[in-house]
């Protein structure tokens, strides 16, 4: 599906994702958002899903596998994991699951903080096109998107919105 008009409403997708997680996610699971889209979603999920969910943020710039090819892009943020990763149940949260490379980088970084008991993955959209054996535990919506396009999550005030850009 390459027609931008068929991109779903981000708020509705977030509600669907929260609905799926509500029944299944551990009461004390930490939500760790991958910057920047995943960080916004992690904040929102923590308010939507009952339980004690510490929120953290992770920037995978220092763990990416394309550093040798494209260097360090500006704007790396500081990862913040304000809970003990050792023995924790962690739900990694991202906006779009595509190749799986960001998730690989995020999992590697998590383990430099400690050994979690369990790591799950929640994504707003799974657009296919995987290059690594990574699957989401919880997914808001599945789409097929042409290779040359990327889905970008944006924020209008507090409202989330999807846009489409040529990659």
């Amino acid at each position: 599906m390459s027609d931008p008009t068929e991109i779903p409403d981000a708020e509705a997708t977030l509600a669907a994702l929260a609905e799926r997680m509500r029944a299944a996610v551990a009461f004390d699971a930490a939500f760790v958002g991958i910057y920047s889209g995943g960080a916004w979603i992690a904040d929102r999920l923590a308010t939507m899903i009952p339980g004690e969910h510490p929120v953290g943020y992770i920037d995978v710039s220092f763990y990416r596998d394309d550093y040798a090819r494209s260097g360090l892009k500006g704007g790396a943020k500081r990862s913040e994991l304000p809970f003990d990763v050792e023995g924790a149940t962690i739900v990694l949260v991202d906006d779009v699951l595509y190749t799986g490379r960001s998730v690989r980088a995020a999992v590697n970084e998590l383990f430099d903080y400690g050994r979690p008991a369990r790591v799950e993955l929640a994504v707003l959209v799974d657009r296919g096109g995987r290059e690594l054996p990574v699957e989401a535990t919880y997914c808001g919506s599945r789409l097929a998107v042409a290779r040359g396009l990327s889905i970008v999550l944006a924020k209008d005030g507090e409202r989330l919105r999807f846009g489409v850009e040529s990659a």
Binding site: F62, Y63, L72, S79
Partner: protein
């Protein structure tokens, strides 16, 4: 001629001096250092960015502290680090600087961290690498002669930004032996590039360079006058060898006029921060009561210095 620190795309590929370095590049280094400060607070203080790369510490002049901080920075980036104390080896056998470099490139060096008593030595190495199609090998100046010490300048800028947030409303005083200080020169360039409205230098005439005003600073010979209203005071180390010449009467006399004591510091703003590049001479340029006091940020400077060097190496090695 192109700035030898930048590649054809205008990206930083060597770090030789802060002079002429565009503000966005300096800001990007400072911004990139912030997440590296966080790495040092973790259980595993390492990221895999420079895995498989070799960093050669080429120290033609001794400096245990600078070499150690570069070594820690490179190791936290997962690079392999090779320390070479060149003064003690090949050059004494007659090998030229560039022959030494070519040999180390043949050993697959990726980054040279160079400290040299001769101003311009790191430039010479970078120009040589660029001219011989080895622009994938990067150079970081870790102090050359009286010229430049850019990573110290950057860590000073990082420290100031950490405590003061912005540069556009600051008065910064640099006190002491500005004449022999590559630290002072680098910091002055960085501060003016980032828009600091008032940079002062304070010291006796014999320790200030001729025409230092041309760098865009205000000159004070009376320390009490110069410290009034300052947000940041940077003390420079008084190198003891300067005492032997005719530049200064005695350490005691120097301390009386230019040593930072609590009563002199009281003339600066109440939230002033006091910095020093180390190693300190207590009782010569700084009183222990100030060095150990609550306005001093001298030890945080050291910690930030590692993060800044990680940022520099990971930016240049990726360009």
């Amino acid at each position: 001629m192109r700035n030898p620190q930048l590649n054809a795309q205008g990206e930083l590929t060597h770090l030789l001096t802060l002079e002429g370095l565009p503000a966005p590049i300096i800001r990007n280094i400072l911004d990139t250092a912030t997440p590296f400060v966080g790495i040092a607070e973790r259980e595993v203080k390492k990221v895999p960015l420079l895995r498989g790369k070799a960093v050669f510490n080429l120290f033609f002049e001794n400096s245990t502290r600078t070499r150690t901080t570069f070594e820690i920075a490179a190791k936290r980036l997962s690079a392999d680090v090779i320390n070479l104390n060149i003064g003690a080896s090949s050059t004494t056998k007659g090998e030229t600087l560039l022959d030494t470099v070519d040999n180390l490139v043949a050993m697959d060096a990726d980054i040279f961290v160079v400290r040299h008593a001769q101003s311009g030595a790191p430039h010479l190495i970078a120009a040589h690498l660029n001219a011989h199609g080895r622009s994938h090998v990067h150079v970081v100046n870790a102090g050359d002669g009286r010229h430049s010490h850019p990573t110290q300048g950057l860590l000073d800028l990082y420290t100031i930004r950490h405590y003061k947030k912005e540069f556009h409303n600051l008065t910064v005083a640099i006190v002491g032996d500005v004449l022999h200080s590559r630290v002072a020169r680098s910091l002055i360039h960085g501060l003016t590039t980032l828009g600091t409205p008032e940079v002062r230098v304070i010291g006796p005439k014999t320790l200030l360079p001729n025409k230092v005003e041309a760098l865009g600073v205000r000159v004070f010979h009376d320390m009490r006058e110069g410290l009034k209203g300052c947000d940041v005071v940077v003390m420079l180390r008084l190198q003891s060898e300067r005492m032997k010449g005719a530049l200064l009467p005695s350490a005691g006399e120097y301390f009386k006029h230019y040593g930072l004591t609590p009563d002199k510091l009281a003339l600066a703003k109440p939230d002033v921060i006091v910095m020093h590049p180390g190693p300190m001479n207590r009782g010569v340029e700084i009183d222990s009561a100030v060095a150990d006091g609550d306005r001093a940020v001298i030890l945080p400077q050291v910690t930030f210095g590692i993060a800044v060097r990680m940022a520099v190496m990971s930016i240049i090695a990726g360009n």
